[in-house]
Symmetry: C2
Subunit: 734 residues, 2 copies
């Protein structure tokens, strides 16, 4: 068994190796003309200075939290590994974002230059650069996981193997909290940055001054391009790193729990999610190499090439899951493998559903565009309506995925599905589905990350005056990226829901560990029953803490959880509004005070706009992010375990739906505008177009700030509760 | 004990008597000039024709559902009283809306005429007419409750008194379903009607043609005024009738359950919510008479007069609650009385919070107005942000109300708060808090309903050319109405949450009755325990059906519940969008084809616009409303009791927060526009004003269609589940 473990670090090394290979391949390409190089340098500098600033601020938060955990460990409320695990999780998550962004900022001018030769060459550079990000994320994740597993396996001592594995897996979960914390700051900060710049640039540049997108005369245009990198690339990298490790670690903890009495099977169950991820890496790399087309490929062929890559990777991973689980001899390997398939299929369905609702090839988005005939108000109403209705597909899909993966893992023993044993095994199945959904992240993230690279390439082409043909090609790549991004979002959002469920179960494991650390060896029930804490099942804990829907603490927790999702979005929306306002004022000021900007004879002060976005983002990201950390702790101290579980489930069920609503409404507005810009309903400059621009502007923070941050919020609240479980069991008011 | 019962029908008769008195008093006033009469007649006819059409369609739904219940009763899945109780609930709810609307349509011209004399006279007519609605709602509710209680008490036979009272109270709950069904159709249909007309009138009239609100040259203006009556008056009447009876009946059922083994105390616990309501009626009438000011009163004095009336009623009701519960000798009468206070206070705090976030006297709404400086997109973003953040106050308040009313009812026995006995008693306390919050509905609804009357009076004044001074006065009344409406909304939304919780507990009671009807006399647990069904507690049922947060059926139910809230809003938003689109096209057509409309020489075809709104509303209301009825049934059949409870709690927690978000965002946009119209930030006609009009237009369906309908949706889903409980226990797939 221990030999197969080394497949995991091996996969990690292979992923990082190929990332380096693709990176070097990209760096060999030419960056084009001097102007192109200069602009790329501007963007690179802006992005790096932002990231430096960001990491400086976030480091302080990490140091404070690590100290808190150290104090908790001192009082026996956590174990001593926690602060270190937490720090490494944050560090690697940040590193994934950093590498991704570095690559993206080097790739954009090169993509623009390649696109000036052919569409296919542009695609290759952009996509391979996206693959760097995808592979860095999965590679670093498995490095972190393998190293920590080996360290803990070596140092943790305990009476029995079953218990030891529980300690290892629940401790490793705390580096998930580090990753989540980093990811939330990255998403919120990056999201505010990019949308403040984008909204600011659009409102004054496009709407008021009537100059095109990415026009060099617009002072906010560099900030806008920097934003794509810090928000859509670095933010997304940290985000998906978090999802990926979260799903693997939560599932490992559930595996440790499900087989706590059968040590040999327990190890297999813990390794299974990691092995599925490892196998997924190899098959993602194969998929990446498959993405190729002839030199004269058109859009449809490009799209088909991308889809082919993803689909082949997914199919092979599904097959390989059966193989590897059979090979290690996991109990009910067939059922668990089918859970992997559930996850993969659910991700694809959600992606397709998202595409249907947000692509302008379909009626829903076209209707949003048509509603612009009666002005901006009706665009907003119909976009909001579309977003709300579109939540049905992902929710129903995830419902099916939950039920099926649960049932597969318990061999369809419907009659006894809620016995203690089946419940543990079924929850493990749900976790496995989440891992399955993310197993091909290496390639799905590549298709996702290449979008902003193409977007930036377009910006570079426009500012360097490369001509309409090149811009048209980069626009085509960007549009293609929007479609694949829809699929990517499906995976991100669906896996967040499944992972959060797995984390919910892990929370109970952590409660168990907390009780044992405090020396409470038995649970005494109201009816006189006594159960040993170390042997207590999920069902026992649910009964012990009365985590039922009639418990007012659970209900209050649920209200608070739902509220958190909304308040968090409200805060981030307002943050974008405020930061954008400052940008608008600055751009207007420059147009007014710097002579000759609009005539092209004066140079705008790009750096000032970059600085405004950076400062705005840093200032605005703190409160909502800290709220996400503080509320679960306070809820635990006041309402105990039942309240926390209510909070997590309420936050999950409302947050999941709200996240889909915001992402899809935002996507539909964006594409409704693009639909008009392609010449429908009056085309660019018409009143209908102006109304659509309003929709797009509202949609910006929806889809790129608040919506994606919600995915992380849901999981971060769970992670915080898990790490703070020791405090909750030691002390709660009610 | 049985003597005091007659206080309930007596209060009902008194309420209806005073309603008649106020109605006659209002009818004695003059309707003003011939033009005023003519316009009032137009509006009256339009409103009546809508209501006729509405009731015709809804009757069919009622007949079908009553047949379904009859079939269920035939198969022993319900008792035979259910179809009748259901029909009367629907009938009385419709009647309350009908009387309220009739009064409002007679009152508007009279209010305009009185306002031409003085502000105070205008207020008196409008407010007293609002009081007719308030008193009709509470009067009819208690008539319905008393009559059914007497009928069932006479006919229901059972072995023991405790069980008999359970049958009576759970059967009475089913007329709550009738009321909810009627209310949902009224709110959705009326809401679509009013906003289609409003949005249509504004978009073409105000924005495109640049003519003022309510200008007689606008073809949609009569439809717009009809809309205020059918949506804001008839819809609200049916809605609050539903809330009022729902809270009383759910609490009575919980009382019957909490004291099932102590028949004498049981009767007291069942009567208690009804008696609190009865007492509240008398004290509301006193409050209504207190609302008076001197002839030369200004706005502040008017507001103070209204507040005085509401506050005195509330204070007296709180005191009287202690008196009446002491008098009947209810166990722990002090604690239960404090639960009444919790409800009253929570309602007031939520109202104040709503006012803070939506009144333009405070910063939040002013900031929304200021954000208009950068165009409509930022108005929308900041309004959405405000709405989301504003959810914090009501959620935290309701959280406190839940916890405190629960703890008061169990004499702060925190250590044992979740024992079977304390849980029943605590849930009863939560129900009592809901009843307390609504106990002064007679007067709070009066302050709420007078708003649309004043609004219509303004419309009448404008169309009749009564001059700027009169319009200014009716505008002042309208603005005052907006502020009191905020408080009213606080009560409606807060009581919905508390009532839904009480209904959740009633659902378990109904499950128990269903099992007993099917002859399942014992519950056998996995660990071998056996409990008699008739003696099973909430805790037993939670364990039996494993309604815990780790049960995947519960979790899937919760996702579906959250989704339902969003999908329902999306459907109603889109319905408004489509109906408004038709109105816009019609108004544009009339401007184009009927000569001389804008010059004032041609007469627009008002009737055509009325017809378009009517047809649109009727067509669009069916699907979302039926969905609310079908989804709980399907969930029950597939996922059983655990799935249904998940659905209800998920729908409640997400729906409650979503409803507040939509109501407050809508209110803030409305008042941001009013703020600018009062001359701030450039005033009417400025670009800022135009941007604010976009916000207001988006806000219209938020605050008057989707938001308020959610309150009912939450409760209707519970009511449907309760009535269908027999089916769920007899058959479920998983």
């Amino acid at each position: 068994m221990s030999n197969i473990f080394f497949l995991i670090p091996f996969a990690a090394v292979v992923a990082l190796g190929f990332a380096l290979y693709f990176f070097k391949q990209m760096m060999r390409e030419s960056e084009g003309t001097d102007t192109m190089k200069k602009i790329a340098q501007y963007v690179r500098d802006g992005a790096m200075s932002y990231l430096k600033q960001q990491y400086k601020v976030v480091s302080i938060v990490f140091i404070v939290l690590a100290l808190v955990f150290t104090v908790m460990a001192y009082f026996g409320l956590q174990n001593l590994w926690v602060p270190f695990a937490f720090l490494t999780g944050g560090f690697f998550s940040g590193l994934a974002g950093f590498f991704g962004m570095k690559t993206a900022t080097y790739a954009s001018a090169r993509t623009a230059h390649a696109a000036s030769k052919s569409l296919n060459q542009g695609l290759q550079i952009a996509f391979r650069s996206g693959a760097v990000m995808g592979l860095v994320v999965v590679g670093l994740a498995l490095v972190d996981i393998s190293v920590w597993y080996l360290v803990l396996d070596h140092f943790v001592e305990d009476v029995d193997q079953g218990h030891k594995m529980m300690i290892i897996t629940t401790t490793m979960l705390t580096f998930g909290m580090g990753a989540s914390t980093q990811a939330l700051f990255a998403r919120v900060g990056g999201g505010i940055y990019t949308k403040a710049a984008d909204v600011g640039a659009d409102l004054v540049g496009k709407v008021e001054a009537g100059i095109p997108e990415d026009d060099p005369r617009n002072p906010a245009t560099i900030a806008d391009n920097v934003g794509d990198n810090v928000g859509d690339v670095a933010g997304m990298g940290a985000d998906l790193y978090e999802s990926y490790v979260g799903s693997i670690l939560a599932t490992a903890a559930l595996g440790a729990s499900a087989f706590i009495l059968v040590p040999e099977m327990q190890t297999k169950a813990v390794f299974a999610p990691m092995l599925i991820a490892a196998v997924g890496i190899f098959l993602s790399i194969i998929g990446i190499f498959i993405v190729k087309t002839g030199e004269k490929a058109d859009m449809k062929q490009l799209m088909a090439a991308l889809n082919r890559g993803v689909n082949i990777s997914s199919l092979l991973t599904a097959i390989a899951a059966f193989g590897i689980l059979y090979y290690i001899g996991l109990e009910n390997w067939v059922g668990v493998s089918f859970a992997v398939v559930c996850g993969l299929v659910a991700g694809i369905i959600i992606g397709q559903g998202t595409e249907y609702f947000t692509s302008h090839s379909f009626r829903p988005t076209q209707k949003v565009a048509e509603s612009a005939a009666t002005g901006p108000a009706t665009v907003i109403i119909s976009g909001l309506g579309l977003g709300m209705i579109s939540t049905a597909i992902p929710v129903v899909t995830i419902g099916f995925a939950i039920m099926l993966s649960f049932l597969c893992a318990i061999e369809f023993d419907v009659k006894n599905m809620l016995t203690a044993e089946n419940l543990s095994m079924g929850l493990y199945g749900i976790g496995i589905a989440a891992v399955g959904m993310l197993s091909t992240l290496g390639i799905t993230l590549a298709t996702d990350a290449y979008g902003p690279i193409a977007d930036n390439a377009g910006g570079n082409a426009e500012m360097s005056g490369l001509g309409a043909e090149v811009r048209k090609r980069t626009d085509a790549l960007d549009a293609l990226g929007n479609t694949t991004a829809a699929t990517g979002k499906g995976f991100a959002i669906g896996s967040a829901a499944l992972t959060a469920l797995a984390l919910l179960a892990s929370y109970i494991e952590e409660i168990k560990m907390g009780l044992m650390r405090l020396g409470q060896t038995t649970l005494e029930f109201a009816n006189g029953d006594v159960v040993e804490t170390s042997k207590a099942t999920f069902v026992d804990f649910m009964n012990y803490y009365q985590v039922t829907l009639m418990n007012p603490k659970v209900l209050i927790g649920m209200f608070l959880g739902s509220m958190m999702a909304f308040v968090f979005c409200g805060l981030t929306m307002n943050a974008v509004g405020r930061a954008a306002q400052k940008m608008v004022e600055e751009v207007r000021r420059q147009f007014r005070e710097i002579k000759g900007i609009l005539e092209g004879t004066g140079t705008p002060d790009y750096a000032r706009c970059v600085e405004i976005s950076t400062k705005g983002a840093q200032k605005e990201m703190m409160f909502p992010s800290l709220l996400a950390i503080i509320v679960p702790v306070v809820t635990g101290v006041v309402f105990g375990v039942a309240g926390v579980m209510g909070l997590l489930v309420g936050g999950l069920s409302a947050g999941f739906v709200l996240a889909i609503f915001m992402a899809n409404a935002g996507g539909a507005w964006d594409n409704a505008k693009k639909y008009v810009e392609e010449g429908h309903l009056g085309g660019k400059g018409s009143d209908i177009h102006k109304a659509c621009v309003v929709g797009d502007t509202v949609g910006d923070p929806f889809k790129d700030t608040s919506g994606p941050s919600l995915n992380i919020l849901i999981k971060l609240m769970s992670m915080v509760s898990i790490v703070m479980a020791g405090l909750t069991v030691a002390f709660s008011l009610l």
